[in-house]
Amino acid sequence: MSNLNTVEPFGEGFISALCPELILFAGLILLIVVPNLGSGKFRIPGTQTRVPWLLGGKRFKLTSDPRLPSWIAVLTIGSSFVMTILSFQDGVERTAIVSEGGTQLLMINAFSRVFELIFFGALTLAAFACMNRLDVKGVGAKLSTDELYNNRRQGDFYILMITCALGMSIVALAQDLFVLFIGLELASFSTYVLVAFFKESKAGTEAGMKYFIVGSVASGVGLYGLSMLYLWAGSLQLDVLAETFALSGSEALPMIGIGFVLVGFGFKVSAAPFHFAAPDAYSGASSPVAGVLATASKAMGIVGLLRILLIVAAPESSEDGTVWLVCLGLLSVVTMTWGNLAALGSTNPKRMLAYSSVAHAGYMLAAITAIGAWNWDETLSGDPGEAAIVVLTALMFHLMVLVAFKLGAFLVLSVLESEGGGSRLSSLGGLAKREPFLAVAMFIFMISLAGVPPLAGFMSKLLVIMGIVKVALGDMSEALATGSELGLSDVHWVWWLALAMVINSAISVYYYLRIGVVMFFEEPEKGRTGPLPAGWQVRFAILACLLATLFMGVASDKILEICETAAQSFNYNWA
């Protein structure tokens, strides 16, 4: 618990510690205010004097530009992203934001910074790409009512993007169940609306509605679990909960509480069987939003799970901690298998990607299970902390690179969507001829998802599998070196999770490569032979994803280093 800076709200160091969030907040206010700047005058009550106060009235030419909100949002989230990167430069100081009573509310460390990076990165790219997805007619054009509404809605959309970012980063920072839940709901509500944002299309509204209903139920269950934990420990503080859990974690109440929380976050990461709304939501939402759901939102769920399972119900604190371990292991296997099987036959590329994201959730849960498995068995003494950090590093790396290729794939679909539809496999037909760049990018995203070397997806999957195997083998490396006979029964059962991952990866190759076949070998759909809709922003975002996919595959050292620091800072009892 060394080197902990405590900062009171608005105290010294507050601004530097919460810089990205404060930028977001400022951006949020700007986004609300700026588009409303105009020649509005305020009449001082009781007089005829009108003081120009710039709000309302006839909008200025600049502020009436429908593109303005998008640029503000992109610059806001983008600068938060840059600030987060910059904060890594001189090492992230561990800083806690404490209330006046001394309770920790937020914690800034390398771990939270990495997740902020993931959230902001994904949202920046998505917001940027949305400039082409949400069509606007320029200033001065003769507008129909619908178009006018559409222009006015721009601000709403990007406000939701920013609140989403804000909520997610609060989840990453939260040290208190209450703050955690606030952040979670802020982000969730933003995404519910974002999914339903295209209210003209029936699918969008329906998907948003379903996502909202099912999500509310899951949140409710999760909240119920959190309240049980509070009931049991009498505190909302994560560290207090962890201490209490170490003392009396095997009681029924915390068990039930953790079970409920698992359901709540299980929905967020779309683990089976809580994933059902996800494919509907992904296919109903516009593609960049679906990309955010599949990357940033999922990462948020993972943060929540990590906090509850590895800090509160920390494996090292209790000998009976295995209760959730088996449960989570089963959940992970069911999730990855379910996701891959469902994706196999799916003919809607967006649903296919949704199921693939379910499968990826399974891989992540397997990684968390492995971390949880590290020193519970007598056979796994040795230096297991190291193994757990390896797995956590791999998990974070996986979440990071997922932004590159999963979001990238959704962005490619978004181009097709602007053309009129990306919900059929055949809409990808002949893409290689129509726009080779998109086809090649999509193909690389697909094989990266499948885990083909030397792409980022291979690296991350390999690291996760290696980490799990390392945990499973524990301190048996010595036994291996001396050549004594070891059977599978000597290996911890999490080894089977690694095997399940390998088998599932093999299955997944089928549907990922099918996309490539369609793009390169099949003819375009009727009437879709011409050039695709223009738009440099989305292509720029795709290019960025593509470069990241390639770069993080071959030159992952630096990023892995960051992830490792983050993993070490996650739980100070480990190091």
């Binding site: 379903k210 809580f274 469902a342």
Partner: protein, 754 residues
């Protein structure tokens, strides 16, 4: 050139040696790419000759570097091997307990054998390149696709030169396979023609059979020596302590396996069937693959094995293999020559002649191997001389044959080219439409058949001369080209036969083969160039173009100069300082010595043998041919003065000794020969009955078991997938139900564990 006794250990040129391989290898993608991009571009087509003039400087550069390298090497020739290692991969082999570091590097290895092959390959590649520009680019059927030819051509040359320069059997094999691939591509250059496609496939598959054995041999070698580097292996072979632990019969098997690879590549019995069919490729390809370079690869491989036979530790252990090499050579020499008797296709005669002559070299190598293996040549200077001369004769024959055969193929190409043009001129003159391709093979006219030639000596003087000199060299007419080496091979075969009666068979074969060679080569020349034109087409043939003339002229000169090469010491081309190139005696003295040795041998047995061989090969064989074919030229046609005596002699013999050979021509043997002794037929039968049947069964098993399993897995997963997806009903109520189910399941598990 002054003889030098100084030993130059370091050759500056060695560091440039990789360029010999790299330049053509880099030219390959360049020509291919530019050819694709600039296809039909007039500059590309007319000025760059569709890549021909890119290949030309590259091959010239390769030749120049080769010559400098050879010069360097010969300057310090003392049996010193120059080698250089360019590190490639460091890896390790798990040796049961510990990891053993292994370096797989590419290096350059230069000794006397390398030097010989390097010159032959780079020199002929350049000449054939020149020839190709004259041949390929003037043929309308090749329009706009010659870049493919030149690209494959340079890659092929790169493969050949790489194989010669490589410093390990591994790299030899790699380049060997590059050549194999290129030969497949080049033979199938006219892939739209079924016969060419078939021939390419046949060549590829037949040599592949040999290659499989070669790989087995290499693996055995690795097993024995732990390395495939020449340096390592040849040093190990000389190391008596090491060799004491090596089973000589295993080694003999390994070498035997490698020899089978050589048999395939050099088209020896029983893997010879691909070579005649491979004449489907364009003529420069025939010259390149079948005369100058690729078929020599097998010989090179066998020549590389010399250190094994020469090793003291293995003395007398490898006799059987030496006999097999000589025997395969002997059989092929006679068989191919016999088939050549009845061929009417100009190029096919040359193809069989190639097989036959390569067989001579194999016999020569086999005998040299036998001598090296049995004689105590390391210590006894007389034995040493015998071994060196035997080995030198074989290598010298390789040189002579490559030069002469390259020339013959190019000359035949020139003939075919002009006959075809004359035919085209006569028959398509009126209705030829610009831009419309006409195929050679669209009618029954066969421009390669000697039946359509005759009396061309006056129309194509340079070609006829080149053909005459080349034929004389192959026949072994005294003083010309192959004579010097062929006599040596025959003499050595008999020398070995005196020692080991088993060798009587190959010895008889090469002696009889000499007479047969005399017959079929004379027949070919006479049918083509002497006598009267067989038809209207042959009467209208004109002289050929300059690009074709240059290599013909050069090679005629080289072939005629064989005596000078012999005098320079080519006949005892050996890894020894004692008999080093030019170091023993001066040029004139050398020539005199060779003459004396050839015509006035002090040993009466060899004295008689020499004259018997000359009588058979240079008098009897050609004499019979003259009595059957040819005759005077047509009225008013004048041959060049140096061809006049030949034609006059031919006319005299023809008028004096002509006899009716129809009974022989209709005999069963002739028919068998026309059918290539039915060997191809039986191979095809065997393929159909055994291999094809097996393949069919495999295919069935494949589709039923492997595909079936995969298909059923796929079907199963798809149906499972639809079941799983059917749970996603689209109704939020159901989703909440599933969440409840999941929650209950979680509690069930938590309960169960706790």
């Amino acid at each position: 050139m002054a003889s030098s006794s100084d030993v130059i250990l370091d050759s500056d040129m060695v560091q440039y040696a990789p360029l010999i391989i790299l330049l053509p290898m880099l030219a390959f993608p360049v020509i291919l790419f530019l050819g694709r991009v600039f296809n039909k571009n007039p500059f590309w087509k007319n000025t760059l000759k569709e890549g021909g003039l890119i290949a030309l400087p590259v091959m010239a550069a390769s030749l120049i570097i080769s010559l400098l390298l050879i010069n360097d090497h010969i300057g310090g020739f003392a049996g010193i091997k120059d080698s250089m290692n360019l590190l490639w991969v460091n890896t390790a082999v798990w040796d049961g307990g510990a990891l053993e570091p292994v370096t797989l590097g590419f290096g350059i290895y230069i000794d006397h054998v390398t030097v010989m092959l390097l010159f032959v390959a780079s020199f002929l590649c350049l000449l054939i390149n020149i020839f190709s520009v004259g041949y390929m680019n003037t043929d309308p059927i090749n329009d706009n696709r010659n870049h493919r030819f030149y690209a494959e051509f340079v890659l092929f040359c790169s493969g050949m030169l790489g194989m010669v320069l490589a410093d390990s059997f591994l790299w030899l094999f790699i380049f060997w396979e590059i050549m194999g691939l290129c030969s497949y591509l080049l033979i199938g250059f006219y892939y739209e023609r079924p016969s060419a496609a078939y021939a390419a496939k046949k060549a590829f598959l037949t040599t592949r059979i040999g290659d499989v054995f070669l790989v087995i041999g290499l693996v055995m070698m690795w097993d024995i020596f732990g390395s495939l580097d020449y340096d390592v292996i040849f040093n190990a072979v000389e190391d008596k302590e090491f060799m004491a632990g090596v089973s000589s019969s295993t080694l003999q098997w390994a070498l035997g396996m490698m020899f089978i690879g050589a048999v395939g590549k050099s088209a020896q019995f029983p893997l010879h069937v691909w070579l005649p069919d491979a004449m489907e490729g364009p003529t420069p390809v025939s010259a390149l693959i079948h005369a100058a370079t690729m078929v020599n690869a097998g010989l090179y491989l066998v020549a590389r094995m010399f250190p094994f036979f020469g090793a003291e530790a293995l003395s007398g252990d490898l006799v059987d293999l030496a006999f097999i090499i000589a025997l395969i050579g002997g059989i092929t020499a006679v068989m191919a020559a016999a088939i050549a008797f009845v061929q009417n296709d100009l190029k096919k005669v040359l193809a069989y002649s190639t097989m036959s002559q390569l067989a001579y070299i194999f016999t020569g190598l086999g005998c040299a191997m036998y001598l090296a293996n049995t004689l105590d040549w390391h210590n006894d200077s007389e034995s040493h001389y015998i071994v060196v001369v035997a080995f030198g004769a074989a290598l010298f024959h390789l040189f002579n044959h490559a030069m002469a055969k390259g020339m013959l193929f190019m000359a035949s190409g020139s003939v075919i080219h002009e006959v075809h043009h004359a035919h085209h001129h006569l028959h398509h003159h009126d209705d030829h439409v610009e831009g419309e391709h006409d195929d050679h093979h669209d009618d029954d006219f066969d421009a390669q058949s000697m039946e359509n030639m005759g009396g061309l000596a006056s129309k194509m003087p340079l070609t006829a001369t080149a053909m005459l000199v080349g034929s004389a060299s192959i026949m072994g007419l005294p003083l010309i080209g192959g004579f010097w080496s062929k006599e040596g091979i025959i003499a050595n075969a008999w020398r070995v036969a005196q020692d080991d009666p088993r060798f009587l068979l190959p010895a008889m074969c090469v002696l009889i083969g000499a007479g047969m060679t005399g017959f079929y080569m004379s027949r070919m020349w006479l049918k083509t160039f002497a006598g009267k034109p067989n038809n209207e087409v042959a009467a209208h043939v004109g002289p050929t173009n300059t690009w074709i003339k240059i290599p013909l002229f050069t090679l005629t000169f080289v072939t005629l100069s064989a005596i000078i090469f012999a005098g320079m010491g080519f006949t005892h081309w050996a890894p020894d300082s004692e008999y080093a190139f030019m170091s023993e005696k001066g040029l004139v003295e050398g020539i005199v010595y060779e003459m004396e040795h050839a015509f006035a041998n002090s040993d009466s047995f060899f004295f008689i043998l020499t004259y018997v061989a000359i009588a058979i090969g240079a008098v009897l064989g050609p004499g019979i041919a003259m009595s059957l074919y040819g005759g005077n030229l047509a009225e008013g046609e004048k041959a060049k003065p140096w061809m006049k005596p030949v034609i006059r002699l031919n006319a005299w013999v023809y008028s004096r000794f002509n006899f009716n050979n129809s009974s022989i021509a209709e005999s069963g043997l002739t028919r068998a020969l026309e059918q290539r002794l039915y060997i191809d037929y039986y191979y095809d039968m065997a393929m159909l009955k055994i291999v094809a049947a097996f393949s069919k069964k495999s295919a069935e098993a494949d589709s039923a078991v492997i595909d079936g399993t995969i298909k059923s897995i796929e079907r199963g997963s798809q149906s499972l997938s639809s079941i799983v997806r059917s749970l996603t009903t689209g109704s939020a109520r159901d989703y909440i139900l599933m969440i409840s189910v999941g929650t209950l399941a979680i509690f069930f598990f938590l309960w169960g564990v706790a």
